[in-house]
Symmetry: C2
Subunit: 335 residues, 2 copies
DNA sequence: CTGAAAGCGCTAACAT
DNA sequence: ATGTTAGCGCTTTCAG
């Protein structure tokens, strides 16, 4: 059997409370006893049982992370930020891939609750009413990362997409483009879909440029393949476009690939702009001009915010919007 | 206070063991009582405490994952495989980013031990003697993913790199290339460095082609930037190379980028071959011809193997080698 | 400064 | 089929 605190106590000739003290409040124990106990711990190879401790203290130093898909670069970088913050404050992360599956999501809520995580980070998905209800019933502190909710008072960390998308479009316009298309996320996606499209439309409108949703906007699910198909569709809709704004880097690459397949060069013939600034964006040819989201920081700050919520019971700022940035590289040029 | 099993028992007018039974062995409880209890659980919003349960059963259904960096596509895909397998068997994953930092690694071993994870997956790093000693002391079941050990009897799942690299090189040769360079991982990396280089050298030797380590091989740490710099170095060493094998897709992209910067086209002037077959490889132009590692399957099988180790106490096959595959795309052509 | 004792919430014999 | 009881390994009063 693995040694327990009892074994250590017996071998050290002290009570278990003393052993507990050298582990938790060593300053309350005489030096000689403390050293003795430490030595026994060493020779026995004793390691405290965090379950027993957690059972009493009601604190496990574990956080649950709900994320659509860790193998997606965007989420992987956000997640990495969470990991770094968690490591700095001695927390562990229990990860759950949701694949945007509601049932899987709800079942994870319960599992995490049972495992007594101290809190949860909910990533990149809208907070539906049933999620909120369950969360409330479960009474688990939650912070939203790369998503937010106006309906509910949930702390969140994300980029403000509408202005970011506006800026991107304005940049394209400033470069001299007048016929600009957009490959958007799904219009029913209130997080990364709608706002980015709205920013685009607002910029076009403000500059008196054509911005028919029917002729200038097509939709995809942020993936490379979606970008490829969307570009094909967009091109059939409107072939005098000189620039295309995409709602993700992956879709931008897909769009470039389609254009390449029909002999159109980027950026010589058509400019393409990405969104996210994942590693993808600077690893390809041409390197992507894109909207940078501070992915790592979003994850990092989300965990910090959760930590504050756990320790102080409240956060300093309910909804944090981290600044975006335009990263100018090689996929956009003047027409 | 959150309701406990006691509260449920009281409200249902039964003993706590009966409540425990409806949760764990419902068939042993009369239907009427069971329904009554279930209803109370529902109205009270009771959720069992997994810590208390784990304390008794000595099984937490949590696995620890040690991985260098989840934001790296290679690991992210392996990790995703682990998540899928874990989900299917009702396990949770606690993740620890090691950044190849020995101390961080060793401290994570201990933390995971204290949290009573049932087992651990150790990813993509050599098993150094001090790791092994600690692992042995801690008595935690371990499976290696994307790495292995000949020195120790540790179950592992990976691809056999030497033959894979041989095959890649042989393909290049079959395509007509005679002057081939390699951008290798560090030669001191026994997992993804040395074997891939050895496979390359063996293929060159077997075909009586020039294979001087000094003139044909340069080294990098698998990243884009490394590939870029390595390609520059390689080109200065030997400018009549018509093909380059890289030890990672990222390095291949870096190499292509360097070649592009000095006006050399891929694959028209020089062929470049990648390794890993991450998403990167089919998202760029030209799409990468590469050695496919079944990344997802490596993670998936590693978790399954760990599960078998936990349930049966042994594994059917100590070291599993998953098949690699050549994926022919656009970055290699005949010279 | 130290020890004894009372749980944390649950499962698992052991009775009945 | 159900209840009683004894812990799992630890922290935390409470005495001394």
């Amino acid at each position: 059997m693995k040694p327990t605190i009892k074994d250590v106590a017996k071998r050290s000739g002290v009570s278990i409370s003393t052993v507990s003290r050298v582990l938790n409040t060593p300053e309350l124990v005489t030096e000689t006893k403390r050293e003795k106990v430490l030595k026994v711990i060493e020779t026995l190879g004793y390691h405290p049982n965090a379950l027993a401790r957690g059972l009493i203290q009601k604190r496990t130093h574990s956080l649950g992370v709900l994320i659509p898909d860790v193998s997606n670069l965007v989420f992987a970088e956000v997640f990495r930020g969470m990991e770094d913050a968690a490591h700095e404050t001695g927390q562990n992360l229990v990860i759950c891939n949701t694949d945007l599956n509601k049932e899987r999501m709800m079942s994870y809520f319960k599992i995490l609750k049972e495992k007594q995580v101290d809190g949860m980070i909910f990533t990149s998905e809208p907070v539906y009413p049933d999620y909120y209800e369950l969360l409330k019933e479960l009474q688990i502190p939650v912070v939203l990362a790369a998503t937010h909710s106006h309906d509910y008072e949930l702390p969140s960390v994300k980029v403000n997409d509408e202005p970011a998308s506006y800026d991107a479009t304005a940049y394209l316009i400033k470069m001299g483009h007048r016929h600009i298309g957009m490959i958007s996320g799904p219009s029913h996606d209130p997080i990364a879909g709608l706002p980015r499209m709205q920013g685009f439309l607002r910029a076009m409108r403000m500059h008196d440029l054509p911005h028919s949703v029917e002729r200038n906007v097509v939709y995809g699910h942020y993936r490379y393949e979606d970008g490829y198909e969307a570009m094909e569709e967009l091109y059939q809709l409107n072939d005098k476009l000189s620039a295309v704004l995409c709602a993700s880097d992956e879709m931008a690459l897909g769009a470039i690939s389609y254009l390449d397949s029909i002999g159109i060069n980027v950026p010589e013939d058509v400019s393409v702009m990405g969104y996210d600034n994942t590693r993808l964006a600077h690893v390809c040819i041409p390197k992507l001009t894109t909207v940078s989201q501070p992915l790592h920081a979003i994850g990092y700050e989300a965990v910090n915010k959760l930590e504050m919520l756990l320790s102080k019971g409240e956060v300093d700022e309910l909804r944090t919007y981290l600044p975006h940035q335009l990263v100018i590289r090689d996929s956009v040029k003047a027409p």
